[in-house]
Amino acid sequence: MTQAIERLTNLSTAPAFNRLQCKECGAEYEPVAKHVCEECFGPLEVKYDYDVIRNTVTRETIEAGPNSIWRYRQFLPVSSNDPIDVGTGMTPLVEAKRLARRLGLKKLFIKNDAVNMPTLSFKDRVVSVALTRARELGFSTVSCASTGNLANSTAAIAAHAGLDCCVFIPADLEAGKVLGTLIYNPTLMAVKGNYDQVNRLCSEVANTHGWGFVNINLRPYYSEGSKTLGYEVAEQLGWQLPDHIVAPLASGSLFTKIYKGFNEFVDCGLVEAKDVRFSGAQAEGCSPISQAFKEDRDFIKPVKPSTIAKSIAIGNPADGVYALEIAKKTNGHIEDVTDAEIVEGMKLLAETEGIFTETAGGTTIAVLKKLAEAGKINPDETTVAYITGNGLKTQEAVSSYVGEPLTIEPKLEAFEAAFERANTLNRLDWEQTTV
């Protein structure tokens, strides 16, 4: 990343963010480690001076920046000239022609954060921003409450940055996510409870320990990292916005930040304004936002999660009401799918596009399919589905549904016999499938 950082330093200017502001009541605070408003407990957001950004950022300055999220540094809440750059971001935007044909769509793209660096989920974006800010604020220990991906990312990027790290996860997480955290040698607390209970515990720890919790006291900075999923799609589509996006909903933060990212690019003259529709995906076993959407409520009733899509199993989603508002005002939809449909979604994306996503991605694809079949996606719309995590981390979810290898002797006739048998089985499968 040396080269990237050198180029970034050359572009350095004064930071464009200056305050934190309550999203509910507008109260303002110094840009310190603080996540809720002292007046009304609303979430705090970073406030920028967009005139500074307009005067310094153009398509050309962005294109000349590093091949990572830090090409959008002026839109991110950090002040240092050497942000933690582990190559996060600028993941592929793949035109998904075979999947589109299967779903009856014409212009479908996959934003593939299953190959985001360094830990194969979109969380590397938010953690790169949060830990850069943590370092600026003087924290030496960083922490998080996580459904797995955030734990992987926090532990890895803390290791890279030389920060001490203690992360909290629900004790029943997938093995890949546990091992994928332990390898970086943080202190890992597996809490006997669901994610919402882990979160509550961490809020109490954050109150007493003075650590930088990426998704608690650093949340205003952390969550801004998700805006880069919006910026990159706009840039990769040739500096224009899509017509429709479909993204998974856990806390609802990612969804709201993609929306914010698109709007900031419009406000700063980087893309033409466009009415983008925002649709959200949940697992039926944890669908508080989808239920509120279907019942036309403006509040979220918490639920107790029970789904294989553990990375998005947040029963009490902090940004749920904002995600709900965005889906409604953009004429989008929020839909949920069963665990069986999630597995089918994972297989469908793998078989048509060669992308192995985790259960959250399976949820997104299954909802995309459901919306397409219900005529809720115009086939001519440029649609982007956000794939936010990697399937190798949740192998348990699909291991019983992907078949077995054909084990053979190292002889030509053994291969021929097995190949013939496989073709016959494929044909029988095909004949049984109603078209």
């Binding site: 996540h35 809720v36 407990f41 918490p302 947040i314």
Partner: protein, 91 residues
């Protein structure tokens, strides 16, 4: 009923910087009133104009969200622990 209440950082200026306080109450609604008499002004922060707990604030009784119990009518017993926790983003 004597219960232990965990106070989040933004509210500790009402409790002389105490992170936990003991309180006598037999329901969450009563607890909010009792807190307000020992820590004047705290109710305005806990509740919105209609008197309901603010939407970004969660109340837990022995780790269970009161929305899975009887909301502000949730009954408290001697020795219960009540946590007041602002909403947290995740993943």
């Amino acid at each position: 009923m004597s219960v232990k209440v965990l106070i989040p950082t933004p509210l500790q200026k009402f409790t002389n910087e105490q992170a936990t306080i003991e309180c006598d109450a037999s329901s969450i609604a009563q607890l909010i009133e009792a807190l307000d008499s020992s820590c004047p002004g705290i109710k305005d922060r806990l509740c919105d104009d209609s008197g309901k707990p603010r939407r970004f604030l969660n109340f837990y009784v022995n780790s269970e969200d009161i929305r899975f119990l009887d909301n502000t009518e949730t009954v408290l017993s001697d020795g219960d622990e009540v946590s007041i926790v602002p909403a947290v983003a995740g993943g």
